[in-house]
Symmetry: C2
Subunit: 445 residues, 2 copies
């Protein structure tokens, strides 16, 4: 079973569609509010995003707030920031975190090299956190390095799979309508209970939608709404679209979102997020071969078999490795047909280390060696290749998961295909599971 | 991060609370409808369950309907059946499947040895499938081996984590109120769109609930409702509680359910379900030791370390193995301190095979051996232990995942603890990942 296109892992280009967006302010947009920024002499960036991240994670039933829960050892919020950062036309990203988590958040930004992020202090409720984020963007803040955007996106720190596509849709709709939000069909019927916990009535499912994130607003529409709204709204409200309607009289345009927009709410959602991320980064594998494929039958066979298990298999003899690393491939199989030493593997490890590829995701490297039982005793070969344990310990420190694979190489074609097939199964398992508990092992096919 | 008690994997006992339930019919229940069955001379079983399973899985975006999607190679619906079967006071379970899937479903029932299941043909909508299930339970069907229950539970085939606790709550509430259903807080705000896809209004989240499954009804209440309801209801309706209200004028009692009741709807839910199941069956591990723990320091150390990684570690020298297998432990570590052969491991494999333990879940068996580098060369030992590959191939056919672990055994205490700690990491990874691609491997700690 396959997910859609990996999308989430590749870099996003702004593209020509954005031209209109940047010029909207100058072009005397339909909204009378949008002149406000221009009059104040503020250099309006087109789009900023506000992420409330002050939640306590109580629904999760764990002490760590859910936005800081680790997925492949990296906090969830870092994936969401990555998804927003990929979109070059989002100029500023404002994250609202509680005072207690301010240092944690700074550490995350530094460690994962996030850019264009500003931190503000979260309020005690979601609405108050968003309001704090908006205040930081408004031009009336003293000593503010941020500039007031034309449009502000509001997103959740715990929806890591947001794509540029839907961000663009809500921003464009916000420019036209003043406000916009992503929606999804309801999964369950919604009912209204009576005071004694009996069914009062059920809603007709087809007439309603779940309001999801992201949402986007002309900055002044939502900022005005927050400035007017009551303490009750700030304490008990949940819905920004509602505030825009109630105080700025703007009927938000609703945009159908994909299932990917779901919010990490329960523990099971963390499991799902981890599996989705693992699947996405397991799609591409680069096979580094110390020989040309047509020269050496065995390498070619292995490549063919890998293609049946993994989506994108790219074979190289090493020259274009730098380019492949740049294309964000997180899996490398180093096939040593001609030699039994680790030179190739070490060269590859060095390259991966230098590339900073493993800052965001654990990178899997598998060093494949061949073994002819008849000419070399298994034990002797193994002892040699066991050095891999030491290499693996070092590589782990840089988030690279190294293991070895010894493939039995019999003369008989049928048997050879059988051991290559088993090798393929093992390679595929190592890439898909990405289990750091098994690094440094020498597996045998 | 831990889930709650494993619950889902252990057998459920009926318990004294059920006494009242079975006698309810005889005790002239408050509902006048409940006399209907008794008058017709039908031996009313207390409780039956109906599972509509005719869905096409279109939301999943995969060709296999979601109830048949595999989790650890077993179809999702089998987990749901297992959850209902564990509850001994549910006398009959009626599953509605489409004609095309009838043979598949029969195969699942046979392979996983499900009991008390009857199949009926699904209708084209969920309501029609449920109605077909109810008809099979009604006493007016010719040649029916089923008897009309007092209470019928309606559940979804794609909610595998339902617990006895909530089933009991809805059944008890249905006896008192005529109808009952599980509810959950809303995760997202619900909004009503206008015809032009703009926000019309949003609902106050706190005043509404998501209606989930299971639901329970006095049989006659829901059967009467289905007999009266319109084609429109049967085609476009989704909510049984609504039918009970509209046609039988019963206001269902709403019962707060746990987050576990969620419905497998999207691919991410399959991932989540697999992770939850893996976590549940990884909690208990049985360590079979060929020596008494206090006699042999190394075994004792390993046990202590395993306890830091896994919740329930039970150590045995083999006598009470049969009992441990009966208690549904799915993970075995066979520690061979005194010998380097496979006799113990083979004895264990035979026992697991004979127990049928691996019918429902893949069972992990790890054969642990120790290696003193100084006295025996690594290669020599390894070649001996490599026989494990052949054993593993055979075991896999019976859903047992066998691997070997060679732990370095130096004289120095500090170093010994280090290699035991690494062994523990590997054991824990093998149990938690349960990856069949790595069977037959000899790992080294």
């Amino acid at each position: 079973m396959e997910l859609g296109p990996p999308g989430g892992s590749g870099p996003a280009e702004p593209g020509p569609r954005l031209r209109g967006l940047r010029g909207a302010d100058a072009a005397a947009s339909a909204s009378s509010l949008s002149r406000f920024g221009a009059e104040a002499g503020c250099r309006a960036s087109a789009v900023a995003a506000v992420l409330p991240a002050g939640g306590s994670g109580e629904r999760m039933g764990v002490p760590t707030p859910k936005q800081f829960c680790p997925i492949l050892e990296r906090p969830l919020i870092s994936y969401t920031l990555q998804a927003l950062e990929r979109v070059s036309w989002i100029k500023d990203i404002i994250v609202a975190v509680t005072r207690e988590n301010m240092e944690t958040m700074k550490g995350i930004i530094q460690r994962y090299q996030h850019k264009r992020i500003s931190l503000v202090e979260a309020g005690v409720t979601r609405h108050r956190s968003i309001f704090n984020g908006l205040k930081a963007l408004a031009e009336d803040q003293p000593n503010c390095r941020l500039s007031k955007p034309e449009v502000v996106i509001i997103h959740d720190a715990v929806r890591p799979f947001v794509e540029e596509d839907v961000l663009l849709k809500v921003v464009t709709a916000a420019q036209e309508h003043g406000a916009s939000g992503a929606i999804r069909p309801l999964v369950s019927t919604v009912i209204s209970p009576s005071a004694d916990s009996c069914l009062d009535h059920s809603l007709e499912r087809a007439r309603y939608r779940a309001s999801e994130m992201p949402q986007a607003f002309l900055f002044d529409v939502i900022y005005d709404a927050y400035q007017q709204c009551s303490d009750y709204d700030l304490e008990f409200g949940t819905e920004c679209l509602h505030l825009a309607l109630k105080y700025s009289h703007i009927k938000a345009k609703l945009v159908e979102g994909s299932p990917d927009l779901w919010k990490v709410t329960y523990k099971r959602d963390l499991y799902a997020a981890e599996s989705i991320i693992k699947e996405r980064i397991s799609q591409k594998v680069c096979v580094v071969m110390d020989t040309k494929e047509d020269e050496e039958h065995v390498g070619h066979c292995l490549e063919e078999m890998l293609k049946t298990e993994l989506n994108h298999v790219k074979v190289t003899s090493g020259q274009d490795l730098q380019q492949i690393i740049l294309e964000q491939c997180y899996n490398f199989v180093c096939v040593n047909v001609m030699t039994s030493d680790f030179e190739e593997t070490q060269r590859l490890l060095n390259m991966v280390e230098e590339s900073n590829l493993s800052i965001l995701y654990p990178v899997v490297v598998i060093s494949v060696h061949f073994l002819d039982y008849e000419s070399v005793p298994l034990g002797q070969k193994m002892e040699k290749v066991m050095q891999i344990r030491e290499f693996a310990k070092e590589a782990k420190k840089r988030n690279i998961l190294l293991s070895g694979l010894l493939i039995y190489f019999p003369q008989e074609e049928q048997k050879l295909r059988e051991s290559l097939r088993q090798g393929t199964t093992i390679i595929s398992a190592l890439i898909k599971e990405r289990n750091s508990g098994l690094i440094g092992q020498l597996l045998v096919a």
